[in-house]
Symmetry: C2
Subunit: 357 residues, 2 copies
Amino acid sequence: MYYAVIMAGGGGTRLWPLSRQDRPKQSLSLLGRRTMFQIAVDRLAPLFPADRILVVTSERYADSLRRQSPQLPPENFVVEPAPRGTAPAIALSALHVRQRDPQAVMACLTADHYIGNEPRFRALLAAAAELARHNYLVTLGIAPTYAATGFGYIQRGASLGSFGGFAVFRAARFKEKPGLPEAQAMLADGLHAWNSGMFVWQVDRILAEIGRQLPKLHGVLARIAADPADLEAAWAEAPSTTIDYGIMEGARDVAVILAEGLDWNDIGSWEALLDVLPADMAGNVVIGAENVGVETHGVLVHSSGGRPGRLVATIGLSDLVIVDTEDVLLVCPRERSQEVRALVDQLKQRADGNDYL
Amino acid sequence: MYYAVIMAGGGGTRLWPLSRQDRPKQSLSLLGRRTMFQIAVDRLAPLFPADRILVVTSERYADSLRRQSPQLPPENFVVEPAPRGTAPAIALSALHVRQRDPQAVMACLTADHYIGNEPRFRALLAAAAELARHNYLVTLGIAPTYAATGFGYIQRGASLGSFGGFAVFRAARFKEKPGLPEAQAMLADGLHAWNSGMFVWQVDRILAEIGRQLPKLHGVLARIAADPADLEAAWAEAPSTTIDYGIMEGARDVAVILAEGLDWNDIGSWEALLDVLPADMAGNVVIGAENVGVETHGVLVHSSGGRPGRLVATIGLSDLVIVDTEDVLLVCPRERSQEVRALVDQLKQRADGNDYL
């Protein structure tokens, strides 16, 4: 059977002040009413029945995610005692999937990405499953549109033909997040795809790779399989590493399937919301508030914090981001929205800074 | 005796969204903790005992103003049944002052102006009272610093010498708010002062002028004097007019005293707050919130609405006004802050617009 595992354990502050330590990006209603996680679950429904959708997350976020998706069986939430990177998270969920079906194929999916064309995404997952049945570890690669330094890259090797209308190649090399010159070179050569962080494989294939490349992690899984009550103690022995670095870079028979036409965006900054959401005639995107404006263009207004009827009034503004939460108001030019990191760093230095993080 | 009358009946939307129909500028805490009205009362204390400070306002605002200044005797609030302009307001308060002391001098003062140098202001009021004892109707004139089109102007005539260190002239002519070319000409000729809207005179002198120029209003006063219970009915007969147009333009023996060195500002727009309030090293003024900023200069942040600990985070902003209230957030360039009028007009067209006005 085909299982989906949504990886929903991540934190991060790129969408501060809306994202917080206790309210990570997957739990944010960035696009409107539903959270990114709810949207990630919803778009799987036509392909996976609810009992074959698993969620791997940490203790900290599990309750919130359960409340967000009451249609998923409670036992489908795989809870890590502590976050240790994507490799242990995927390994633990692979163990759960194998216990249900040793011949299963599993898709490891992100919880907080925007995907505009959902039918195409499901077609991609179906094609990737077919490829995985041919013993490949399949990576979903995104055709790069600019010289991003925030993503890992995958260099493609020999063509493996086409599956379900998607071009497939052997993966020749995984590259971690590059510097700008290297990113520009990879964009120019046409041989690289962004690593989306989404993977499809047979569960026994990935567990075998873990056994070969991360034997210590494999031992942890064996302890947990033998005695689920031993999870917490065993987990303390799990190495902290990512699936890319710990497994994919050294794995055999890795394929990259080119995920074209998804209208994919990782929403790595506030500016990205302006790229993905439908704007009004003046190019403004207004969420959670009403706007009255004079000469206002290319402005993102995102208001939250339970104040219905909030009015955001603007005069003579261009390409600005306004994020209005219960306790913090952020105003910055659209092209500098990734600099919220600097503000987060400032706050970490302050005695009361944690109240806002 | 010398009485002060604070005229606190005005409305207006120049400081929207903080100022509202039910929360006029004099009741706003623009400068920090205390309201403009409280500050206007406080600065009189060294010169006027509380029982000689009167307040003239309308029914709508009286309760709020009484709560703001509990040190003033309740009977010192002169309440107009309905606002009819400054002439009837001043006439009614003159009637009250005359009933206490027919020989009184009264200063008619504004409730919502910023005055940076308060000792100098009191010295000016003392000098103006002396001048008023010489039978002049005294106008406080402000030396213009730019070609303002938002103020009336007074053209000065022959010098009357110096009172208490302040230069005094006969007033040759009152000019209503001019167009820009005329304002530029008046600024250039050095013969004009802004009309501050503040006046000092003997109470019997102003009542005599009212009798001469506005006999109908004088009749209304006579009815009220004869029977205070007749106020409401008599008031309906009072002509709607301003003291400038109704009295000053046609009055005899009008003097203008040049109020130099007051650091006066009528705070006619949000931008004005940046001019009068002390800024931090980067030229920012932050009231009611904390600010964390990256490359932020010349920005006004005014936050209210009872959310203590509100944080305003800014990146790469210059010369911007951010006004954050309970239900409205305004963001606009500093030099366009007077355009809130356009937003107010937009809101008047909307079905729910009154909720925000």
